[in-house]
Amino acid sequence: MKKIEAIIKPFKLQDVKEALNEMGVQGMTVTEVKGFGRQKGHTEIYRGSEYTVDFLPKVKIETVLPDDIATKAVEAIIKAAKTGKIGDGKVFVSSIEDAWRIRTDDRNNDAL
């Protein structure tokens, strides 16, 4: 099992969700997050006082998938979230040891 964490531009959330749904991904967790990478922040000016806003709003999608479809899912996310401009985000993939579904006690791939 792999966990995919994708940090993307908020307005791309709908596209990414649809792309994952189409390839059969059945669930995901979405969190509104803030952060910065190479895009850095932006400047806001209130009555002449300039403030640098370092942390920009992003959306983090987390989903855990069977090994065989994880790479395909990452490709789908990248395709859907790409604008080609700085600040598109990142995708991280890690291994998951165990998974349970609380309602049925299903384990691992059955629980996903």
């Binding site: 806001e44 000016i45 209130y46 009555r47 002449g48 006082s49 403030y51 640098t52 806003v53």
Partner: protein, 460 residues
């Protein structure tokens, strides 16, 4: 405010005063032919009661929203409280002795506190010295709204770090030592600067350039310096938490200011219309000039900038509103937008003080500009009373725009700066030694809403 009284006196039955002053410009009212005492005009009283309400609306919710939007989420309630509590505290102070010190008969510097103690003898019979066609009580109520909003303006400089007890103590002392005497000197009978009622140096201040805006602006600057910067200023971002509140507040302030300035005519006559026009066009011009300078220097015209320009234009025209033509008001407004923009950006960053909500930059600098410009731009056509009411050595002196009047205005401005600056410094020292000025660093970081009042503005 008293600058209107030639008209008021005239509109009542005091023909003798009128003729004696030799101003035969207005027709004597047919209603005012007989009986001895002054008569209330229902029309004037209606306008003055409405104006009184409008001026209170400037404090709540006008200033409450304007200031409340500019602070951070954790200090919204405390900032609003700084204005809200004064509606209660200043009303009581005014009732007990404030009105008497400001408008009682005394010397050139303050009125007799016993004369109207607990508003004794302030009934419905007009006080012909101040406003001959409205109940004395209406005049008292109208003036009360000024003593509420003036110290509330100061609160913008102490926001997000002052102890609530220290704030209250400071305001009560400041109003007693600075506001009431200054009010008497400019508008009270026999006041030193009162050109219309036996003053010694004629100063044009229609609705409160010295009394309200310069006095509070300078006090704010001294408070900001003595209180010190907010923790993290200027490196940490301290952005307004809700600019929308501030914009709603701006609208309420603008509308309320019609009561403040046009109401200062103290009747519903021509002068009220003149002051209304000057107020409106100055605010409009200042909004445009602030936004233009910001657009040129920073690349974008900000919404808060337009709102700040409006308030700057309103504060700046305040002393001039009943004395200047519409084109002069536009000139004053344009100067206000540019001058106040530079004050809140360049001046503040050069000296590094944390006047958190720019009270000095907008109200102090604005009204200094207005006080000086009215010395040059005051027009006899707008306010015929300034032609000859003031007398020096038995001869009438015109107060229309001139070098001499400019210097009178300058002296009054300097006097106000020194009085409010020195008194604020001493009062702050006293408050610091007794209750302490600032909350501790932990309370400041939690925010004043929780640490001073045990509440939060936004739950869930």
């Amino acid at each position: 405010m008293m600058r209107a009284q030639m008209e008021s006196i005239h509109r009542s039955q005091r023909k003798f005063s009128w003729i004696a002053l030799g101003l035969g410009l207005l027709p004597v009212s047919a209603l005012a032919q007989d009986s001895g005492g002054p008569t209330v005009s229902n029309g004037d009283n209606a306008w003055m009661l409405l104006s009184t309400g409008l001026v209170l609306m400037m404090t709540a919710p006008g200033l409450i929203l304007f200031y409340g939007g500019l602070v951070r989420t954790k200090n919204v309630l405390s900032t609003m409280m700084h204005s809200l509590i004064l509606m209660a505290a200043m009303s009581v102070l005014w009732m007990v002795f404030g009105y008497s010190v400001a408008f009682g008969e005394g010397n050139a510097f303050f009125g007799n506190p016993a004369q109207y103690f607990f508003l004794k003898d302030v009934g419905t019979t007009p006080n012909a010295d101040y406003a001959a066609t409205i109940p004395h009580q209406t005049f008292m109520l109208f003036q009360m709204m000024f003593v509420i909003i003036t110290p509330a303006l100061i609160s913008g400089a102490v926001a997000e770090r002052i102890k609530f007890s220290a704030y209250l103590l400071f305001i009560v002392l400041w109003v007693t030592i600075v506001y009431l005497p200054l009010c008497h000197m400019v508008w009270g009978k026999g006041g030193y600067f009162n050109w219309a009622l036996g003053g010694q140096m004629p100063v044009l201040d229609f609705a409160g350039g010295t009394v309200v805006h310069i006095s509070s602006g300078v006090a704010a600057l001294v408070c900001a310096i003595m209180l010190g910067k907010r923790d993290g200023f200027p490196n940490e971002p301290m952005m307004p938490h809700n600019v929308v509140y501030s914009l709603i507040g701006t609208g309420l302030l603008w509308v309320g200011w019609f009561g403040f300035n046009a109401g200062s005519a103290l009747n519903a006559g021509e002068l009220a219309t003149r002051a209304f026009s000057a107020t409106h066009f100055s605010a409009a011009a200042a909004a445009l000039s602030w936004a233009t300078v910001e657009w040129l220097l920073k690349g974008k015209p900000s919404v808060l900038g337009v709102a700040s320009g409006m308030v700057a234009g309103l504060a700046t025209i305040t002393p001039a509103s009943g004395f200047v033509t519409i084109p002069s008001a536009v000139i004053i407004g344009l100067a206000a937008g540019v001058g106040c923009y530079l004050a809140v950006t360049k001046l503040k960053s050069t000296f590094g003080y944390d006047d958190s909500l720019d009270v000095f930059g907008v109200h102090g600098i604005g009204s200094i500009i207005g006080m000086l410009l009215v010395g040059v731009l005051a027009s006899v056509e707008v306010n015929p009373a300034i032609a000859a009411t003031y007398q020096a050595g038995g001869a009438p002196v015109s107060l229309a725009g001139s070098a001499g009047q400019f210097f009178n205005q300058l002296k009054a401005v300097l006097f106000t700066i020194v009085l409010s600056g020195a008194a604020s410094f001493i009062i702050l020292k006293i408050v610091d030694k007794t209750v302490g000025l600032r909350v501790d660093i932990e309370d400041e970081s939690v925010g004043l809403d929780l640490s001073q009042h045990g509440e939060r503005a936004y739950n869930e």
